[in-house]
Amino acid sequence: MKQFRKMTYPYVAWISVMIIVPMILILLYAITTEGNGVVNFNFTIDNFVRFFSDSIFLEVLGRSLRVALITTVLCIVLGYIPAYYIAKCSDGIKMKWVLIITFPTWINMLVRTYAWIGILQNDGIINTILGWVGIGPVDMIYTEFAVILGMVYNFIPFMILQIYTSLSKMDNSLIEAAQDLGANRFQCFWRITFPLSLPGVISGITLVFLPAVSSFCIPKLLGGGQYVLVGNVIESQFLTSGDWNFGSAISLIMAIIIMISMYITKKVDKTEIGERASA
């Protein structure tokens, strides 16, 4: 199938210009000192040292990874059921469900997040309903709960889509065969359906985890500012303090950490697939 390889050439050329060149500029900022307008060549590793020598930055980074991880796990758990449900629907209904799930993401994220502020507010809808049944106002807005809720809300459609994609058009004969051989529903799911959907889960993780680590808008609005994540730090370096060098360095550090964790995830995926193949 070598003739199909050529099909990647245009994209390779494209990413070289549109992704790699800008990334080189960012890299240059990260390893040089001062100067936004013109890149000058005073190489330094100060920006990296500055990040690692301060416990607060490490704390922020750890918190971001933790929040992103919780969000990702919740998205998988809560997203798998709808994805499975949709994949089992008849063809005509499938598409409608997919649209129902994606539709909310077409409304501006900021508008939806503002709506959550109103809903979660101390005198918002949820607390009003809770008040009717006699439960006093529960503090929801400006807590970690609100931040994670906002993140899950924002990212779960992507997870559902990815898992659904890998579940649909799955070979049902495999499951039937397993059932014929006496496997119960749980075994069927765990040994056959889940491993087969794993590639979808992995791209779902990529689509949720990566942007979740660096998100800055949701923690800012729903976390009330004191919930600082690494995305906020990077954003403020670029947009308020104008320290592009430090901002670039932090984003590189983050990119490297994420690449390593994605590499590990891929490894897990491969061993799973390997097992399946050898089984």
């Binding site: 922020v60 005198d123 500012g225 303090s241």
Partner: protein
């Protein structure tokens, strides 16, 4: 499903084409209008081109002012908005060209230092005399060589008069933010500049200090506040939140406070005795402006009494125009009883100055303040 996909694709394509056409025809239509109108009044003035590009904060100008200017001068105005001075600076330094900008004082000072502005043409801007005395000859631009004030105000505390006694807030100033009685009931403004200004002022320093010990003292002050008071850091959400009385005390810009007070009669405004920040947003013309002549005309237009009046009535910020200002605060004026609308003249109030290294330092410390648990 395949059939569906095909049909959807066909429909989408049709939609794009229709919309694209609409966009194009709209564009050519409006420039056409501009040209026609220009022909009618071409004897009035000759400009380098018929387009003026202005760049200002979002929702910072009354809607009808630009169309009226377009009609009167037979030109087309492109309005772009920014979200913070720094965002504007980033776009500007990447080479984007605009004719009129409306940044804040310290940003104007920075642009002046970097030689990014051109002097205004005082022979065109004859309405310069309309300016109120408080907004003339400011410290960063002593002769108004480069900048013409647009809106101005200060920073202060908006408080719920039912829960916070006026005497207490006046006596304590910004220290009330550390009174544990109000724990969990305060909004801080999420900006390193304003956050540190509060601490500097309360501790009796200048808000432009770069003295290491004073910065540290302010940092400790803010960290303690963060730890003991459980504040919520917000930016413009504070306006709606305070208008609805969500919390008792908040740091608010006077212009926004004027809106809050007019919406919610329970709210009061107090600029503390320890002094506060006084700010000015002003119109400037960048060096790389493509149409400086028209830019000067626009600035002159924005200083007209009728224009200023409309603008301040809609936006709610304090006008820099003397006649309008007097009218607004006169007994039967729109803002007669509004304590936030008219900024006081007080020798402890300061304007922010541009200081790049200080800015970077404060920005890093501000993250630490908020992250400290």
């Amino acid at each position: 499903m395949k059939g569906f996909a095909k049909k959807a694709a066909a429909l989408l394509l049709a939609l794009v084409m229709v919309m694209g056409l609409a966009a194009c025809s709209k564009e050519s239509g409006s420039t056409g209008d501009g040209a026609n109108a220009g022909a009618e009044s071409s004897d009035k003035k000759e400009f380098d081109s018929k387009t003026l590009k202005i760049f200002l904060p979002g929702a910072y100008m009354e809607d009808s002012l630009v169309p009226a200017f377009e009609k009167e001068y037979g030109v087309k105005v492109i309005v772009e908005n920014f979200d913070s001075n720094e965002m504007m600076y980033t776009k500007l330094s990447a080479g984007d060209s605009y004719d009129v900008l409306i940044p804040s004082d310290y940003m104007i000072e920075r642009l002046m230092k970097e030689d990014a502005l051109q002097p205004i043409d005082k022979s065109v801007i004859t309405n310069l005399s309309n300016l109120a005395d408080q907004t003339k000859n400011l410290v960063y631009d002593p002769d108004n060589t480069y900048s013409v004030p647009y809106f101005w105000g200060n920073v202060g505390l908006v408080y719920n008069k039912n829960n916070v006694p006026k005497e207490e807030i006046e006596a304590k100033g910004y220290d009330i933010l550390k009174d544990t009685k109000y724990k969990g009931h305060i909004y801080m403004y999420d900006s390193e500049r304003d956050g540190f200004m509060i601490a500097f002022k309360q501790l009796g320093y200048s808000c432009n200090t770069d003295n290491e010990a004073e910065i540290n003292a302010a940092y400790e002050w803010l960290v303690e506040l963060n730890k003991t008071m459980d504040p919520v850091y917000v930016t413009d959400e504070v306006i709606d939140a305070m208008a609805n009385g969500q919390k008792d005390i908040a740091i608010v810009y006077s212009g926004d406070a004027a809106y809050v007070l007019s919406e919610n009669p329970n709210m009061g405004y107090c600029a503390p005795n320890c002094g506060t920040n006084k700010w000015f947003d002003a119109m400037v013309i960048p060096k790389n402006a493509e149409n400086p002549k028209l830019a000067n005309e626009f600035i002159n237009y924005m200083l007209r009494n009728d224009v200023c009046e409309k603008n301040t009535m809609e936006v709610g910020y304090t006008s820099a125009n003397k006649a309008v200002l007097d009218k607004m605060i006169a007994e039967d004026g729109e803002y007669a009883d509004n304590e936030a609308y008219y900024p006081r003249t007080y020798d402890k109030d300061e304007v922010f100055r541009d200081n790049e290294s200080l800015r970077k330092k404060l920005s890093e410390l501000w993250i630490k303040v908020k992250a400290a648990k």
